[in-house]
Amino acid sequence: MLGYLVRRILVLIPLLFSLTVLLFFYIHAVPGDPIAGMLGPDSTPELIARLRHERGLDLPLWEQYWRWFAGLFRGDLGISLINGAPVTPIVINRIPATLQLTLCSLFLIVAIGFPLGFLAGKHQGSWIDRILSPTALLGLSTPAFWLGTLLILIFAVRLGWFPAGGYIPFSEDPIESLRRTLLPAFALGINLSPLLARLVRAATVELKREPFVIQASGRGLKPNTITRRYLLRNAVLPVLVIVGMQLGGLLGGQVIIEQLFSWPGVGRLLVEGAVQRDYLLVQSLILVVAVIYVLVNLAVDVLHASLDPRVKL
């Protein structure tokens, strides 16, 4: 297990390195100049040149890359091209909000999708099974931004049960913090719940036909035992696969949802940075998202191995 972790983390090094190269040149290929954009149409070419020089934008691209890359090892992501503030603390400040939204969303996806899918699969053809499929289609085809707006309209504006947005750190007021996370997390994850439910349903239907489940009743095991230790226990495994696979979509979806719910996370800052061509900020934020992605995936794989003895790490 420890060896596995070390190996997995070693693999991350070339992966993340390639990612920094890709990110850097990709973002610089986007047309538009950050300084010219910041100063507006009234600035003089001299002023633009001076600021470009101050920010190091007149250096060759490879040297700009090298400065940023070398800085990563010192935990220095550079300074913002727009306001000259160090990027590192800005980015770090945004991580808790994003992480909280991601995890709450994941929790909601599983809490809604898994029981529905399992019950539908276990009681094939029952009412719950019959309504799952159309509901799933509805959920899958509902865009997150539209649902988010609708949720705000109903639960925040009309009913006033939840605030329309804003984030309070968990450490400050856990209950209020979670209350505020609920709507954005729901809007973000609701598309994935039906997807999960369908997959869990399919897995459960499949399990019921497995010889070991049939034989369990042939050995006279209690129906309750068969449900818990034979069906449920094995239906959990595909959930992990889905979570690992859909995490990317979840992180990407935050760009819109954070905007909608005034959520001070990585996604919203990313939009601001991209609009202003703040190269260093955008590079660093995407890198952070990528690191979160690979780390959560690693955690999912480790969890999978601990639940399924056939998976060797």
Partner: protein, 335 residues
């Protein structure tokens, strides 16, 4: 079961059992009007080719015929209860306690994510066996030892996929055996194993019968295995039993042309192997196209030799199933 009937009453009495599958508009009789008895402490071989209905017959006794199948029987009496009259709770009690099923692919019948030790203690717990965790584990180890697992304590903590094929089958047998069933239905339990392990498992099953007085229905396509461990044999062909008798009688004097053909296709154990292997021409019929009259007729050498008599085409052979050795053939005396 505590209420044992008279000791000379059969353990299992099957009368006019039919299993019918409806697939689309087709109705297939996989098992067609089969009757037999199983006595206490005997191993009865149930021999036949693929699609002869032998496995379905085993499942019918377990009441495990899949959903699409319909089982009907005049009587399916196990000890003193009609199996098909049992409630779900009674059936659950009988399964595991009195009836056990062992199949070919032992690995597939075990929960992949739970240790084999937990699985066998679960069987005991779900049947209300008294005793704490350590007591149940002790009994599991005892049963593992009985099926000759070399390291019973270590095996408890293993997952099914960590065991060899032979060990998997021993563990599966132990799971069936742990509550001391009266009847074990063993469906090709040794087919997937290599020959030496096969011999060990057969010896093990024979030992269980001799020590405990358990009965076994041994389902197989392999006559050599039948000769090795069975007391009696039922030969199945196309959903019916075509010959029944003590193993010695059937092997020495096969009455049905099908049984003779099966025996002829065996390799001799001693002497030179033949230049050409004897095989039964043609394929066994499928359940939706049973031939009329005698079902073996299209492949029967005797039918050809006798000039295709009409009786074979038109009527089912009648048999007297009360004699110890019988065959369902119009021309038993022509052999």
């Amino acid at each position: 079961m505590s209420t044992a009937a008279g000791s000379d009453a059969p353990l299992l009495h099957v009368e006019e059992l039919c299993v019918e599958f409806t697939i689309g508009s087709h109705r297939l009789r996989a098992v067609d009007d089969v009757s037999f008895d199983i006595g206490r402490g005997e191993i009865v071989g149930l021999v036949g080719e693929s699609a002869s209905g032998k496995s379905t017959l085993g499942l019918a006794i377990m009441r495990m015929v899949p959903g699409a199948g319909r089982v009907s029987a005049k009587s399916m009496k196990f000890v003193d209860q009609e199996l098909y009259d049992l409630t779900a709770a009674e059936l659950r009690h009988v399964r595991g306690n009195d009836l056990a099923l062992i199949v070919q692919d032992a690995l597939a019948t075990m929960n992949p994510v739970i240790t084999v030790g937990e699985q066998i203690t679960q069987v005991m717990r779900d049947h209300g066996e008294k005793g704490g965790r350590s007591e149940l584990r002790r009994r599991a180890v005892h049963t593992f030892r009985e099926v000759r697992l070399s390291e019973p304590e270590e095996t408890l903590g293993k997952f099914p996929h960590e065991l060899s094929g032979g060990m998997q089958q021993r563990v599966a047998i132990a799971q069936g055996l742990v509550l001391g069933p009266l009847l074990i239905i063993a469906d090709e339990p040794t087919t997937a194993l290599d020959v030496t392990v096969q011999a060990q498992i057969l010896a093990l099953l024979r030992g269980i019968v001799d020590d405990r007085g358990t009965s076994i229905i041994f389902i197989t396509h392999d006559l050599a295995t039948v000769a090795e461990i069975c007391d009696r044999v039922l030969v199945m062909y196309a959903g019916r039993i075509v010959e029944a008798g003590a193993v010695g009688d059937v092997f020495a004097d096969p009455m049905h042309p099908y049984t003779r053909a099966l025996l002829a296709s065996l390799l001799p154990l001693d002497g030179e192997p033949p230049d050409v292997l004897t095989a039964i021409p043609g394929q066994p019929p499928q359940p939706d196209e049973w031939p009329t009259g005698c079902r073996f007729r299209p492949r029967c050498p005797l039918y050809q030799a006798l000039g295709e008599p009409e009786a074979c085409r038109t009527t089912d052979p009648l048999v007297d199933e009360t004699v110890p050795h019988w065959a369902a053939c119009h021309f038993v005396d022509e052999r």
